[in-house]
């Protein structure tokens, strides 16, 4: 192929009038090493097209998904919308979360809506009773704590009392030592 012929083919190419065979001739020409300078930029273009055709779909996840989906059972069709798509999954999750949140909020703030008047009335009493009971228990609990502190003090009194008892005994023994008769008489009287 002369440069002239190539130039003519290129012209035809840019008009969209080349056949596949002619396009192959161009591809081969531009793949060769000796391309004249003024045609060098076309080399990039044809090189680009060749490179683009090489790309393969080589994704093990893709293969696995597909072999999981395609099962050889007669008359079984696969529902495409049932397959989790990246985008669809996100949308569905978002919608589901929103609905759940709304339901949750509704029940939290409108608990009485689903109850009848009667139970409502009962409930009001129950709530009142509960409130009063808990208030009373709170007071009791607070006072109990305060009281327990007093009880703590009582224990020191206990200790002191033991000392006092010791003193008492001391006096008893002392009186025995000093006035044994009197004590004996007293013990006889008490019997």
């Amino acid at each position: 192929m002369t440069t002239r012929e190539i130039e003519a083919l290129l012209e035809k190419y840019f008009e969209g009038n080349t056949t596949l065979q002619e396009e192959n001739i161009l591809r081969k020409f531009f793949r060769s090493a000796d391309v004249p300078d003024h045609l060098k930029s076309y080399q990039e273009m044809f090189g680009f097209f060749i490179e683009q055709r090489v790309e393969q779909l080589n994704n093990p996840v893709f293969e696995k998904n597909l072999s999981d989906l395609l099962v050889d059972e007669p008359a079984k069709t696969i529902n495409i919308s049932a397959i989790s798509h990246r985008n669809r999954f996100v949308y569905i999750t978002a919608i589901a979360a929103t609905i759940l949140l709304m339901i949750g909020l509704f029940f939290t703030y409108n608990q009485d809506v689903f109850k009848s008047e009667k139970t409502n009335h009962l409930n009001a009493n129950q709530e009142l009773a509960y409130a009063e009971a808990s208030e009373a228990l709170m007071i009791v609990s607070a006072n109990l704590n305060a009281g327990l502190k007093q009880v703590d003090r009582l224990q020191t009194v206990d200790k002191a009392m033991k000392n006092v008892q010791l003193l008492n005994r001391f006096y008893q023994y002392q009186s025995i030592i000093i006035n044994p008769d009197e004590i004996q008489q007293k013990s006889i009287n008490s019997k």
């Binding site: 969209g16 930029s41 680009f48 097209f49 490179e51 790309e55 779909l57 395609l70 099962v71 050889d72």
Partner: protein
């Protein structure tokens, strides 16, 4: 068509469908999703596949339609650089930075074309299909395809000559 036959006839189309979807969507993961969807759709019609003259054309048309649906459903334009990134990563070592800029430029130039022209460039210049096959897939007549193809090619050439002119100025 049973699974065995399906695997032999349809599975080998996956990369071609993937490249086509990726050209339109410019997004690797979305293109994979589309191919999976196409495979499922064809599998669901497995009893009728033999009635089609070309299962490959059917697969390509399905791919095109799913891709266009997805583009319509997009609320924001997808700015995706993964084509460019992958190219730089897979670049043979003897090529210099100018080359990667140019490849990126061609990518961008194609991306800026109308969808129909993008598809036609993909099917003709990259996949090497006959005009008849392309006509079936993009649902246009052959003449309209030639016109669109010519416009697309010229747009790419424009970019290349601009880049080159800039290059020579630089030197």
């Amino acid at each position: 068509m049973d699974l065995q036959e399906y695997k032999i006839k349809i599975y080998p189309l996956k990369s071609k469908l993937f490249r086509f979807a990726k050209r339109i969507l410019d997004h690797t993961e979305e293109a994979e999703d589309v191919v999976q969807e196409v495979f499922i759709k064809l599998w669901n019609r497995r009893d009728k596949l033999d009635e089609y003259r070309s299962v490959e054309a059917l697969a390509m048309i399905t791919t095109k339609n799913l891709c266009l649906d997805r583009i319509k459903a997009r609320r924001y334009p997808v700015e995706n650089m993964d084509n460019h990134r992958r190219f730089i990563e897979n670049m043979p070592e003897e090529l210099n930075a100018d080359h990667s800029d140019l490849i990126y430029g061609i990518h961008q130039a194609i991306k800026l074309l109308p969808e129909q022209q993008q598809m036609i460039i993909q099917l003709r210049d990259i996949e090497g299909l006959e005009f008849g096959e392309i006509a079936e897939i993009v649902e246009m007549n052959e003449n309209a395809i030639r016109v669109a193809l010519s416009r697309a090619r010229k747009r790419i050439r424009e970019l290349l000559t601009k880049t080159k002119a800039y290059d020579y100025q630089g030197n």
